[in-house]
Symmetry: C2
Subunit: 510 residues, 2 copies
């Protein structure tokens, strides 16, 4: 009996396992985009592309995977987050980690001497996902880069201007700030503080943590892990707390005679002065903050660097993009260097902010549920319900969203009264499509008018064309303007399709 009991529970376990295996899942850290999410994404990406195009950028695209060797040695420690493809007998391939390295490879392969391009595409990082914060393993980036040999700081100033113009749209009224710094200024600081040259990079990456951690932690890391003497760390500490309006900061730096002994500092400062003049003329100076603690993680930056943070209520969104100048990356692929500067917009965080604003928080939680379902350690939980925007779960969404973004573009529902007008319904659809009008009909041979109008209501279709034998004999149709109110309370009578009880209000009938 005991053995039989064990067998039973084994079978239970196996059955549950089996069901779990067959349950549909998405890969850890990824998400489906539902129609309502896609509608938002399309608008956001269109708005961003409009800015890029207004600045004369062309668009390119590159394959989602690159030769593994193309990506190696570009990302420092984060290289471990790259997705590799299985060796199936051919080249060693990896999914792209960002759009910048593929862009440099593109320029080198095509012998492109100069280009101002944008690229909107998904990138891949095997990082620990934090779906509630909009951090995924597959996510969109929107990149704008200018490659070519030009006069100092002019392309840099335009990239920063583009960055600010885009963020102005999504975080208006001072809702964001762009921190700027210069890699050569950081080098100079480390130099005059007495950091040995081979420790510049590790110390730089410690400094980079100052936006999340207090100075004492960073100082401990410099001393205990990176082996700096305490007085060297303290000297660094005096510099990296400095931040402020670029003009005032530059005036202050101009008085630091010790720092200015470094030729790196002199170069950085004269470039920063030019940049400030240019972005002042370009009208975005008041979004900038010169912050000596900004270091940026990636290895390839060589000049000015920047990163935007949101300042408004949405705490936890943090960085919404950044970039800088990288003068030697193309040269890693081509025979010669092509200087370049660019910015990458972290559009997922813009989406997250907009979804949160429109009360689409449910998405984050359903995405989080899907993460749980795919995390084997936590196992057993069902979840991962992805809303489709057309089914029953749509009803749970805030009606405010739907007043702003419609899933589908249908303007007219073609309805018939009576049982024998199916082909007439189809022919009418043909006429409207030919006229460029977005229309639909229900996929029912003999539908009641009530059901047809419910379909219009469910999908927020604003117009109904209604035909019966009567209209057809006269060669006319009825056009009804529908307004879709909030869902009616359940206890309301639901009989008359022309009443508002099913959410369809007849505004006009002609």
């Amino acid at each position: 009996a005991c053995l039989i009991g064990m067998a039973d529970s084994l079978e239970d376990i196996l059955t549950v396992r089996n069901q779990e295996t067959r349950k549909p899942k998405v890969a850890k850290g990824t998400q489906d985009y539902t129609p309502i999410q896609m509608a938002i994404r399309k608008q956001v990406m269109r708005a961003i592309a409009d800015v890029f195009e207004r600045h004369g950028a062309v668009q390119i695209d590159t394959p989602v995977f690159e030769l593994k060797e193309t990506l190696m040695g570009k990302y420092g420690e984060d290289q471990k987050l790259i997705y590799d493809l299985k060796d199936q007998g051919g080249e060693q391939l990896s999914l792209r980690y960002d759009l910048t390295v593929p862009f440099a490879r593109f320029c080198a392969l095509g012998n492109v001497e100069k280009i101002k391009r944008y690229h909107i595409g998904k990138v891949y990082r095997r990082d620990e996902p934090q779906l509630a914060k909009g951090r995924f393993r597959e996510f969109y980036q929107c990149d704008f880069d200018i490659a070519g040999t030009y006069d100092t700081m002019l392309p840099d100033a335009e990239v920063i201007t583009v960055f600010c113009e885009i963020l102005d749209q999504f975080f208006p009224n001072g809702g964001f700030q762009v921190k700027i710094n210069h890699r050569k200024l950081l080098d100079a600081i480390m130099e005059v503080c007495g950091v040995p040259q081979q420790k510049f990079r590790p110390i730089c990456s410690a400094i980079d943590k100052l936006d999340k951690e207090p100075w004492d932690n960073v100082k401990r890391e410099m001393i205990d892990e990176k082996g700096l003497r305490e007085e060297v760390a303290d000297r660094i500490g005096e510099y990296v707390v400095l931040k402020g309006r670029p003009k005032e900061m530059i005036e202050r730096l101009d008085t630091m005679t010790n720092l200015l002994k470094s030729t790196s500092a002199q170069t950085a400062l004269s470039e920063m002065k030019l940049l400030v003049d240019y972005v002042t003329a370009l009208g975005v100076i008041d979004r900038l903050c010169l912050d000596l603690s900004l270091a940026r993680g990636l290895e390839y930056y060589t000049g000015v660097i920047y990163e935007a943070v949101t300042l408004s209520g949405e705490s936890g969104i943090g960085s919404v993009g950044g970039g800088g100048r990288y003068d030697h990356l193309v040269g890693m692929f081509a025979g010669k260097d092509i200087p370049a500067v660019g910015v990458s917009i972290g559009i997922e965080r813009v989406f997250a902010a907009i979804e949160s604003k429109f009360g689409l928080k449910g998405d984050a939680s359903s995405a989080a549920a899907s993460e749980t379902a795919t995390d084997k350690k936590k196992g057993g939980k069902s979840g991962g319900a992805t809303r489709d925007g057309t089914g029953s779960q749509q009803q749970q969404q805030s009606s405010e969203v739907h007043s702003v973004v419609r899933d589908a573009a249908t303007d007219v529902l073609i309805c018939t009264i009576g049982d024998n007008l199916l082909l007439e319904r189809l022919a009418m659809a043909r006429e409207l499509w030919d006229a460029g009008i977005a229309c639909e009909f229900v996929y029912v041979e003999k539908p009641k008018l009530n059901k047809q109008l419910n379909h219009a209501s469910d999908n927020k279709i604003p117009l109904a064309v209604i035909m019966g034998e009567d209209e057809l004999s006269k060669g006319v149709v009825k056009v009804r303007f529908l307004t879709h109110g909030p869902p009616a309370p359940q206890e309301a009578p639901a009989a008359d399709p022309t009443s508002s009880s099913n959410g369809v209000n007849t505004a006009t009938t002609q």
Copy 2:
């Protein structure tokens, strides 16, 4: 000396090898999209999405990779073409092979009972690339599918209508034909011919080759490889040669009393009759051809199937898309079946046709060169030049393309005369951008007007705003309308920027 000579040549070999390794490459069978290609792609995809949206479809997106188990058992023999990701300690993942299986998984995961959706995205197949024919390992598909339980053949008719409307745009005036057939009709044919049920699928896939191979080859495959008796194959041969206008074909099938003993045939025929009525009302019947040799490779089809071929001059383009009904695919992921029908547009072949039309054939050859460069067996050849559309190689493109598609959207170049007006140039750009006008300036501190107008000419920018001290003191600017003729012959004098010698013609100066 001999040894030293050997060492020298060894070093040569190693050096060459090393250079080859460092030479920038794209993965085999993939391509970069240059600005001019992207401009074409955007227009084509926009035109396709417009049709989808006019039919009330919503858009979704899914991750580029799925759990490997999601894709297994859906593609028959072609399963071997799936790209797997490396096991890096987590789930087993594969790149999507099409958009249909991810769509079914999406419906199952989200409990979507009904949806009319489109999806434009890249899919991945480890097939032998034929770049000149537009066959890549990474390529776009545009899918339109209707899932849900509806009255017979109504969604099917709309899908076919959408298919025809899209193809009408790219292959007008009868430039294409949609072959249709029904899986149950094929089943019935095999049944009455005496094919054992377990051989239905293999025989079906033999029949599918009839668009490329003569009957005799297919017959031999049926007999020699698939083990049919010759008289059975001959009986099949009598059916699969039949094709013609749907109405006439249906009348003919209606007289085949032997075939109609099969209930599958009866079902298929009654569904085909409905379909013909519906697509007649929907105005696309004359694009259809009922072709009993159409079988479609994929396992999951259960009802009507279709495939479009081009009929116009571009030989070798062949199939430009296809689809059908698949009533059990969602059920493979969810507890219950959700019937569905859809179509997939092979948009790469549309691109190839358009590029060929606009004289962009050079792209295919440069893509082919890149294939060679990445094919280790052929090694040694350089190549893979990818045009950037902004550099010198742009000049090689047919000017016809540029008269149709501009890479960048820049409408105005802001020019200054004299050496001290850089900040004024930037401030003017700010004004135009704020007014929503696409403008640029050259990234040179003290540019000659000549150089500035050359930039306008190179980039086909139609307007120049010109400012000098004179204009600034009067508070005005000059606006010059530029027309860009073909590149001037090299021997022409190139001094006066207002002459047409550098390709810039002054149409009006105010």
